[in-house]
Assembly symmetry: none
Homo-oligomer: 270 residues x 2
């Protein structure tokens, strides 16, 4: 719980988030009133905050509709967001995986608090509709990426990280609590990759493996997900392929598997 006092800065950042929501994007941006109502704030202050954000280029407003949308500055910053090496080195590996090995949707994700952020997606050409997954957040505790990203966490760390998470939802096999999750993490740790069978969504299976940085800590996860009827049978094989690719990516980031990692890897949990 412990709702922070919510500083004025935090409230401003929440406005940016709201403008990047599916609804706001789909409607070509939101006006002051809509934003104020949605955020439970007074219109006046929202108006003033947006003016500052607009002056700084973080939002911009449509000349006709007066609606605000995310501005150029955010895109410029995003281009310099954390570890571009991960993106640069990851892209070709994802492509190869989807084309040569698996023929299913491949994602590269990082941990964002108790959730998983997809930063790169590669879709097979035959895919009918491409849902834009990049930039989306999903829970960490019932997804394959999440399991891979948490593979070094011990029970206490899990407990703390997932204090607010809702267990037992998603697919029929979703873990019921932290203990169940930890058990499955131990399995993943043993075999080097995680297998998910209808935990996140009914009928969906997935496999994921951790990507490590040069210090040995988990920096990302590579995963494949697909309908059970298509991927189910060869899921263990897919896991192996994903793990091989993740290991390759780790090497490109400077990770040396022979060096001991546990100490440094643990440091990131705080």
């Amino acid at each position: 719980m412990a709702d922070e006092p919510a500083s004025s800065l935090r409230r401003a950042l929440d406005l940016l988030d709201a403008l990047a929501s599916d609804d706001a994007v789909a409607q070509g941006g939101w006006g002051v009133s809509r934003l104020a109502a949605q955020q439970g704030r007074d219109k006046s202050q929202v108006s003033r905050t947006l003016r500052v954000l607009a002056d700084a280029g973080f939002v911009e407003r449509d000349a006709g509709s007066m609606a605000y949308r995310i501005g150029w500055h955010v895109f410029a910053l995003a281009a310099r967001a954390a570890d571009q090496r991960l993106l640069a080195a990851g892209a070709p590996i994802l492509r190869r995986l989807v084309e040569k090995d698996l023929g299913e949707r491949i994602h590269l994700s990082v941990l964002q608090g108790p959730e998983v952020l997809t930063i790169l997606t590669e879709t097979p050409p035959h895919a009918v509709q491409t849902v834009a997954w990049a930039g989306r957040l999903v829970p960490a505790h019932n997804t394959s990426s999440g399991r891979a990203l948490l593979i070094d966490h011990d029970r206490d760390e899990l407990e703390r990280l997932l204090a607010g998470a809702v267990f037992g939802v998603g697919g029929p096999n979703a873990p019921a609590d932290v203990n169940a999750l930890f058990e499955r993490i131990l399995v993943a740790r043993r075999q080097g990759f995680a297998i998910i069978d209808e935990e996140f969504e009914p009928g969906l299976v997935a496999a994921a493996a951790p990507v490590r940085g040069f210090r040995g800590e988990v920096v990302a996860a590579l995963n494949v997900s697909a309908p059970k009827f298509r991927l189910g049978a060869r899921l263990p094989l897919a896991g192996q392929a994903i793990k091989a690719a993740a290991d390759e990516l780790s090497r490109e980031l400077g990770y040396d598997a022979r060096r001991p990692t546990s100490l440094v890897a643990r440091a990131r949990a705080g």
Copy 2:
């Protein structure tokens, strides 16, 4: 220059900017003291502001060095709003192209599997018939937009993507097979834009250039097409104009041509 009172929000945003500077990025992020000195602010408040930014995910800190960097959350914002911005920033550029530069029909399109989907059109006033092109699908292999959208693809990727495509149809100069297409893509790659001369339809010429997103990957294509008797003579010039406009749009999407984001592009090429 009437310096604004500089609200606290503005100061916080300036911190993000500072963290996105070349120096900061090159050094893997900056610490509190460095940032405070560079911004002429007190360490204490920089520390507190960064804590809020970090809680919101807008910055993240390196566990070892304590240095702050732009966080993945910014990336997520940009990724989710990317499509919106493509449309918003694209519209005026299309309008300007058709009014000032070319006086012919301009399209903005994206790749949809092996086909090209037009998402924005601008028509010159003198146009007799206004066919609604937006929402239409055309083949990728014998259109200028398609060529621009496939400009980073290598031969193998083309082969897989266009496995079901019918070659040798459309105009008299339509590419006969994947090899012929790839040859022409190489030409387009060299000059930065694609020229089509009666490939899609007899008597029709076109020029197109790729638009890149903040990650450096091709997200759309800008193109002009017109009857050969009207545009044929100045087609190379039109190509240059289209390329210039596409580059401008890319910049508005956060693409920085100087940065080696081309790693992503190059890696695709092989």
